[in-house]
Amino acid sequence: MPVRLELRGVSKTYRNGGQPTEVLHDISLSAVPGTVTALLGRSGCGKTTLLHLAGAMDFPTAGDVLIDGRVTSTLSDAELTTLRRTRVGFVFQFFQLLPTLTALENVELPLLLARAPNTTGKARDRLRWVGLEEKAASLPYQLSGGQMQRVAIARALVHSPDILIADEPTGNLDTASGDQVLALLREAATRFGATVLLATHSAEAAAIAGVRVSLRDGRVQSIEAS
C-alpha cells in the first residue's frame, strides 16, 4: 500500500525570547491509508506540534513532511489551502465548533469554504453517519460534550479527507462518549480509507490504533504495530 503521510528526520525548534527550544527531534515515521496511528506521550512531549506539521499547518525547521510524496514546505499558500480543503481534516480536544452556527452549519462549513456543490446534503449525510441528524438545527451550547465532538468529527470528514488528524479527541469526554468517538475514528479509517493520526493520553484511544508511536521530550521512543 502506498505511503500517504511521511515524516523524514523532522525537527522543530521554537525561539522563546531568543532562546531556542527544540520541541521535536529527528522524527521519522509514515502512515498508509486505512490505518490509525496513535501518538502517545505526556503533555508537552510534542504530540500537538507533530500533528500540526502532519496537517501542513506548520513546517519543520529540519527534515521534510510529505503528503503523497509532496514536501509540504515547498507548497504555495494557495496549494496549502487546497490541501486543507481536500485532503486533511482536523478534530480538536475542545471540539472548536463555531458557537454561532448550528450543528449542520458547522459540518457544512468546510464545504462552503471550498465552494463545493450540494453542501447541505453532504453535511446532512455526515451528521447522519455520526448519529446526530436530529440535532442538525441545534446550536453547540445545546449539545453535550460527546455530541459536540461527534459533530466535530462529521465536520472533519465532510469533505472526505485522506488524512484525519485528531488531537486528544476524547480528552474532554466521559467514557461512553469517548468510546463513541473512538468508534467513529476507527470507522473513518476502515470505511472511508482515511489515514488517521491520533494524539492521545488514553489507553482506550491507543487501543484502536494499528500503530502506536511513543514520544518523549520530542523524540520517538518506540513504534509498535499491532
Binding site: 499547518m57 494557495a78 486543507r84 480538536f92 472548536q96 463555531l98 458557537p99 462552503l112 469554504l113 471550498a114
Partner: protein, 830 residues
C-alpha cells in the same frame, strides 16, 4: 493607582490601534466643536473695535433709521452739558486694486483738538487718513494721491495720516468731504457722544434724549455688536449644533470602547471584587478609563480645532457677509477659556457615555466571571425591550417637535432630534436581527457571508452601538442633504417667481448684507427713457432697528410691482388688493421671516421710527421671501419719501416692453450709465449669483458632515477590530478548516458591508425624520423660512453608497489583522 495601571492602562497599551482609533474619534469630535466656535468668533469679529480705538472713547451713540439731520449737532452742542458730539458717516468706497473698503467720515478738524487722527490738508486735494494695514497693502504713504470711487464717481484725495489699527483696513475722510462725495449733504449716520470729565452720565443721557426726536435711538456703544450677535445667534447656534453631531457619534464610540473593555475584563472584575474591591472602585476604574480617553482626545482635538478654524473662518465670514452683516474676519484666537471648554466638553461626553457600561461593571458579582457570549445572549433577549423604548422615544420626539421656540431657539426641535437618535439607537438590535433573518437564505450560500452575519448577530450589543453610531452620521448627512436640497429647490422656484424684471441695476460697488450704497442720482429716470423699457421700479433700502433686531426697510414702486412682478403672499391673502392699498398710506407688507421673528400678522400695527418720525404702519400682508432671515418691511416709495425726503434709490428693476430687443436695450442702458459706477445684471445672472451664494453658504455644512462620517468610520474600524480580536480563536479555526487568508479577509469585509447596510437602512429612516425636523421645526423657528420638502433621491442614493463603500474600506485594517493571525497560536489559546 496600581489597579489603574494593570486593569486600565496596560490593556489600553496592549490594544494600541483601538485606543488610537477611539482617541482620534474624540479628537475629531472636539476639534469640530472648537473649530466652529473659534471660526465663528473670528468671522463675526467686526473691525469696529479698532475704529473705536481710533476715534476715542464713546459713551453714547445716536442712531436713526434712515439718517440724522446734521442740524441736530448744533442743537446738541447748545445744551449746557460737558459733552462732545461727533458726527459720523459710514460708507463703502471702491479702490482700484484693493476692492471695497469701508469709509468713515469724521469731523476731523473738530476732533483734532481732542483725540483721534490729525489730518493735515496738503495741496489742493482733500485729505484722507488710512490704516497702516491698508497703506502697506497699497504701498502708499503721505502725501501720495489716492483715487476712490464713491457714489459712482472717482474722486482723488491726498494721503495724510496713516494710523495703526491692527489688521483693520479703512479710510477716514473729513465729514464734509464724505458728505460731498456721497451727495449726502446735511445728513449723518451717527452721532458719537463723549461725556466730559466730572459730568454726570445720566444727566447727559436724559438731556440728549429730551432734545432729540423720539424716533432717534440713544444707545450705549455696542448696540450694533449686540444686534450683530443676536442676528447671528440662530446661524451660529445651528452651526454649533451641526458641530456637535461628530461629538454625538464620538459618544457612541466611547460607549462601545468602554463596553468592550468591561465585557473583556468581566472575570478580572469578578476576581477584584472577590479580593475586596468595592463597587465604587470598579465604577471609578472604568470612568477613569473613559476620562483618560476623553481628555487625551480633547487635548488633541483642541489643537486640531485651532488648525481647522483657520481653514473654515473664510467660509463662515463669506456667509456672514452675504447674508447678515458686513464684517471682516479677525485672526483666530485660541483663548484659555476655549481650551478648557473644549477639554471639558470632550471629557464630559466621554464620562457620560461611559456611565452605563461602567455601572454594568459595578454590578458584576464577586463570583461571576461571565463570558462575552452570556453578555451578548442577554442583549439578544433584551431586543424587545429596546424596541419598546425606541417606540417611546419616537413618541417623545414627535411631542417635542410640536413645542414652540424657547427664548428664540428651536429647543424643541433639537430635543426632538436627540429623541429621534435615541429611538434609532434603541431600534438598532431589532433591525440587526430582522435583517439577519431576512437575508439568511442568501447569506447562507457562502461561508464568508454566513459567518459575517452570525458574527454580527452574536455580538448584538456591540453591533447595535456601531450601527447606531454609523446610522446617526448617515442620518445627519441625509437630513442636512434633504434640507439643503429642499431649501435650494424652494429658493430656485421662488427666484423664478420673484425675479420677474429683465434687468437689475445696482451700484457697482460690492455691498454686503445690510449695506445699501446709493445709485447715482437720476439713473432711474435716465433708464426709464431707454427705448424698449416699459417700467423702472427704483428701490430704496435702509437698514433699520426694530425691537433690538435689525431688518431692512425698503420702498419700491408697488404699482409697478403689482403690474409686472409676482410677489407671492401667504395663502389666503389677495395680492392685488394688498399692493393697491399701499401707495400714499402708512401701510406695509412684511416678509415671512420678519413676521415670524416678531410675531407679526396681517392687520397688526408696527411702530417704526423712520428718520425724525415715529410711524405706525399697518401690515397689509405677509409675503414669501428667502433673501434675508432678518426680514423686510416694504412700503410704497411715496410713503418712504414722505418721511425720508431725498433718500436715494439703491437699486432698480427694469421691465422691458413686449417684443423689445433685450440686447439692444442693454447696450443703450450701458451707454447711459457708462462711468457712473453702475452694474447691470440680466435676470439669469442674478438668479445664478443667488444660487451661488446659497451653495457657498452651505459649503461648511458639508465639511462638518464629512467629519461626522469620518468619526463614524473610525468607529466602524474600531468595532470590527474588537470583533476580530475577540474571535481570534474562531478565525484561526477557519484556517484549519480550509479557509484561505483571502476568505478570512473577505469575511471581515463582508461584516463591514453588513454594518454599512444596516446603518444605511436605519440612517436613511432617521435622516428622513430629522430632515422633517430641520425643515419644519428648526429652520422655521430659527430663520422663519417656509421650505418645501424636495428630497434629492439621486444625491441621497449616491451619498449612502459612498458611506457604504467607506465603511467597507474601514474594514480593511481589521481584515488585514484577521488574515495575518497565526492559526496555531490562536487555536491554542484557551
Amino acid at each position: 493607582m496600581k489597579l489603574l495601571r494593570s486593569l486600565i492602562l496596560r490593556p489600553l497599551r496592549r490594544d494600541l490601534p483601538r485606543t488610537i482609533l477611539t482617541v482620534l474619534a474624540v479628537a475629531l469630535g472636539v476639534a469640530v466643536v472648537v473649530a466652529i466656535d473659534l471660526a465663528g468668533d473670528a468671522a463675526t469679529g467686526s473691525f469696529r473695535s479698532s475704529m473705536e480705538t481710533l476715534a476715542g472713547k464713546t459713551d453714547l451713540e445716536i442712531l436713526a433709521n434712515g439718517s440724522i439731520d446734521e442740524s441736530w449737532i448744533g442743537v446738541l452742542d447748545a445744551l449746557p452739558l460737558n459733552a462732545t458730539f461727533s458726527p459720523v458717516i459710514e460708507a463703502q468706497g471702491l479702490l482700484p486694486g484693493a476692492g471695497n473698503i469701508p469709509i468713515y467720515g469724521l469731523d476731523l478738524i473738530h476732533a483734532a483738538g481732542h483725540h483721534g487722527p490729525q489730518t493735515q490738508p496738503a495741496g489742493e486735494l482733500p485729505p484722507v487718513g488710512m490704516t497702516k494695514a491698508l497703506a502697506n497693502r497699497l504701498h502708499m504713504r503721505a502725501p501720495d494721491i489716492l483715487t476712490v470711487s464713491i457714489g459712482g464717481h472717482d474722486r482723488q484725495f491726498q494721503v495724510g495720516d496713516i494710523v495703526d489699527a491692527g489688521t483693520a483696513e479703512f479710510l477716514v475722510f473729513d465729514i464734509a468731504d464724505a458728505q460731498q462725495s456721497l451727495a449726502r449733504y446735511g445728513k449723518l449716520d451717527r452721532i458719537d457722544v463723549t461725556v466730559g470729565a466730572g459730568e454726570d452720565f445720566a444727566r447727559v443721557e436724559k438731556a440728549v434724549r429730551a432734545a432729540l426726536p423720539p424716533a432717534y435711538f440713544v444707545e450705549k456703544p455696542g448696540l450694533r455688536n449686540e444686534e450683530n450677535q443676536r442676528m447671528l445667534r440662530a446661524f451660529r447656534w445651528n452651526l454649533r449644533v451641526l458641530g456637535y453631531i461628530s461629538l454625538v457619534v464620538g459618544a457612541f464610540l466611547i460607549y462601545n470602547t468602554i463596553s468592550v473593555s468591561v465585557v473583556r475584563r468581566r472575570s478580572e472584575i469578578g476576581i477584584l471584587r472577590a479580593v475586596g474591591a468595592s463597587r465604587g472602585a470598579v465604577l471609578a476604574l472604568f470612568l477613569v478609563e473613559a476620562l483618560l480617553l476623553g481628555v487625551v482626545g480633547s487635548v488633541l482635538g483642541v489643537l486640531l480645532g485651532r488648525l481647522l478654524a483657520a481653514g473654515v473662518v473664510g467660509l463662515i465670514a463669506e456667509t456672514v457677509n452675504a447674508l447678515y452683516t458686513s464684517s471682516r474676519p479677525t485672526p483666530v484666537e485660541l483663548t484659555a477659556s476655549e481650551v478648557w471648554s473644549g477639554i471639558l466638553t470632550g471629557a464630559a461626553v466621554a464620562f457620560v457615555s461611559a456611565l452605563k457600561p461602567a455601572r454594568e461593571a459595578m454590578q458584576v458579582a464577586p463570583t461571576e466571571a461571565m463570558s462575552r457570549g452570556a453578555h451578548e445572549h442577554r442583549a439578544r433577549l433584551r431586543w424587545r425591550r429596546s424596541l419598546a423604548w425606541s417606540a417611546l422615544f419616537a413618541v417623545a420626539a414627535a411631542g417635542a417637535s410640536q413645542a414652540p421656540p424657547w427664548g428664540g431657539y428651536p429647543v424643541g426641535g433639537y430635543v426632538a432630534a436627540l429623541f429621534a437618535i435615541a429611538a434609532t439607537a434603541m431600534a438598532s438590535p431589532a433591525v440587526v436581527l430582522a435583517v439577519d433573518r431576512a437575508t439568511r437564505t442568501v447569506t447562507r450560500r457562502r461561508a464568508e457571508s454566513l459567518l459575517a452575519g452570525r458574527s454580527l448577530t452574536s455580538s448584538l450589543a456591540r453591533t447595535s452601538v456601531v450601527v447606531a453610531a454609523l446610522a446617526t452620521a448617515i442620518a445627519m448627512m441625509a437630513s442636512v442633504g434633504i434640507m439643503v436640497a429642499s431649501f435650494r429647490e424652494t429658493v430656485a422656484l421662488w427666484l423664478d417667481v420673484q425675479l420677474r424684471a429683465d434687468f437689475y441695476v445696482r451700484p457697482a460697488i460690492r455691498s454686503g448684507a445690510g449695506q445699501y450704497p446709493p445709485l447715482p442720482e437720476g439713473i432711474a429716470a435716465s433708464l426709464a427713457g431707454v427705448s424698449g423699457v416699459a417700467a423702472v421700479d427704483d428701490f430704496r433700502g435702509i437698514e433699520f432697528h426694530y425691537q433690538g433686531e435689525r431688518a431692512t426697510l425698503g420702498a419700491g414702486n408697488l404699482e409697478i410691482v403689482r403690474r409686472y412682478g409676482r410677489l407671492r403672499f401667504l395663502a389666503g391673502e389677495d395680492r392685488d388688493a394688498i399692493l393697491r392699498s399701499l401707495p400714499d398710506r402708512d401701510r406695509a407688507v412684511v416678509s415671512e421671516p420678519f413676521a415670524i421673528k416678531h410675531g407679526v400678522h396681517a392687520g397688526d400695527r408696527l411702530t417704526v421710527p423712520i428718520g425724525d418720525h415715529t410711524v405706525t404702519l399697518t401690515v397689509a400682508g405677509i409675503y414669501y421671501d428667502y433673501s434675508s432671515s432678518q426680514g423686510y418691511v416694504i412700503l410704497d416709495r411715496s410713503t418712504m419719501l414722505k418721511y425720508l425726503p431725498g433718500l436715494a434709490a439703491t437699486n432698480a428693476a427694469i421691465y422691458l416692453a413686449p417684443g423689445a430687443d433685450a440686447g439692444q436695450v442693454l447696450r443703450e442702458m450701458q451707454l447711459r450709465t457708462a462711468g457712473k459706477g453702475v452694474a447691470i445684471a440680466h435676470n439669469s445672472e442674478l438668479r445664478r449669483a443667488s444660487i451661488e451664494i446659497f451653495d457657498r453658504t452651505f459649503a461648511i455644512t458639508w465639511a462638518l458632515e464629512a467629519v461626522a462620517i469620518l468619526v463614524a468610520m473610525l468607529g466602524a474600524a474600531n468595532s470590527l477590530l474588537a470583533l476580530v480580536l475577540d474571535r481570534r480563536r474562531e478565525l484561526g479555526l477557519l484556517r484549519f478548516l480550509g479557509a484561505s487568508a483571502g476568505q478570512v479577509r473577505g469575511m471581515i469585509l463582508t461584516e463591514a458591508a453588513f454594518l454599512g447596510l444596516l446603518a444605511s437602512i436605519l440612517g436613511v429612516a432617521l435622516g428622513l425624520a430629522l430632515s422633517l425636523l430641520l425643515i419644519f421645526v428648526v429652520n422655521k423657528q430659527s430663520f422663519g423660512w417656509t421650505i418645501q420638502f424636495h428630497p434629492p433621491g439621486g444625491l441621497l442614493a449616491g451619498a449612502v453608497l459612498l458611506v457604504w463603500i467607506v465603511t467597507v474600506l474601514a474594514g480593511l485594517y481589521p481584515a488585514r489583522v484577521a488574515s495575518r493571525m497565526n492559526p496555531i497560536e490562536v487555536i491554542q489559546e484557551e
